[in-house]
Assembly symmetry: C2
Homo-oligomer: 207 residues x 2
């Protein structure tokens, strides 16, 4: 495989989408796929797909397409998904529950390893096999389990406070579902997963 030290953020965001589609093809026993077919199904320009993948190596065969299994394996390596990645989730409300219950993470080597909430009445209750823990245990659990990633499913007014705590405990990446902007130090990365932005870009094409 070719070297792939420098990947643009746009590519890092597209590779998981390719990976999801390719995993789907594996499930339905499709072994070869063309960039045209991928592009049509994923709403991405086929030339873009070829360019993205060519940056990492010579995966495709002209006139035949990509070997699905081989490509899945390589994208997993590129995204460093070969070892398990542990994540904490803060906010065990409806959204927190729904996310915890997705089994998909396990398959993708991303695993929610601890769940926290500030509601005393929820403590000890299990979500997806994990007990809801008190916020006061966050520092200890994050250090003990060497966790660097967090999912925040807290209400918007609580987001910055929770974020500051997570950062002070060593979290370096936050997937923020709270519909609000949060401030972090330069060495911490935030991805926003709020529904509004997603709907707005979708609405642009339809209305």
């Amino acid at each position: 495989m070719a070297k792939y030290e420098k990947i643009s953020e746009a590519v890092v965001r597209r590779l998981p989408i390719y990976l999801r589609y390719l995993s789907y093809l594996q499930q339905v026993n499709v072994t070869t796929v063309s960039s045209q077919q991928m592009g049509m199904n994923l709403d991405v320009n086929p030339a873009q797909i070829r360019k993205d993948l060519a940056a990492f190596g010579d995966f495709g065969k002209k006139g035949i397409g990509y070997d699905v299994n081989y490509l899945v394996e390589n994208i997993r390596q590129i995204l460093k998904l070969t070892d398990e990645v542990r994540v904490v989730l803060v906010g065990a409300g409806h959204l927190g529950h729904a996310i915890s219950n997705y089994n998909a993470y396990v398959k993708d080597n991303i695993r929610i390893a601890a769940i926290f909430d500030n509601d005393a009445s929820k403590l000890g209750k299990e979500v997806a096999g994990l007990p809801i823990q008190s916020m006061s245990e966050m520092a200890h659990t994050i250090a003990e389990k060497n966790i660097k990633l967090a999912i925040m499913t807290v209400p918007a007014p609580a987001a910055q406070t929770v974020c500051d705590q997570l950062v002070s405990f060593g979290i370096k990446g936050i997937l923020n579902f709270a519909p609000t902007t949060i401030k972090v130090p330069k060495d911490v990365r935030v991805h926003y997963a709020d529904v509004t932005s997603n709907l707005q870009s979708l609405a642009y094409y339809i209305t």
Copy 2:
């Protein structure tokens, strides 16, 4: 304002993120912002921000920055968010509840106008002021309220069937939370909002 007929998908996906940050600045009474400041807070290259915005008009003043209110107003126009956009939500589980309860949509002129579920025991119960309706009412409600957008928060195995129904009832855009790929006709657009892809791209930077 300059013409803006052709906007690339990447820009359409970034504009809502700019809009969210600018709305936040409005809330905290900040009236001017530089591309550097925006870039730092949003983890986007400031040159990219300047380029994105310059495509629509001359919003910035050199050495001063952008007028926040003026920019918000213009991005709303560009994204066609000046009229209300109605959305149906299918799947009133934890995730469906959480999404329905976000107030953010109203503010952004995107409003969930009907909620459906196939669980008879849920029918008639209210979520965010809307009664959960039977799937058999979907066709009628979508036509009556002239709805073109749908949010799917159904389990993965149900996703394709529900998607096919929505498309047959005239839905043209789907925000899919089910962690699975769905097939749609060419004139229907799907955005994937699954957590796994988001975590995978975040993990890439951290691990």
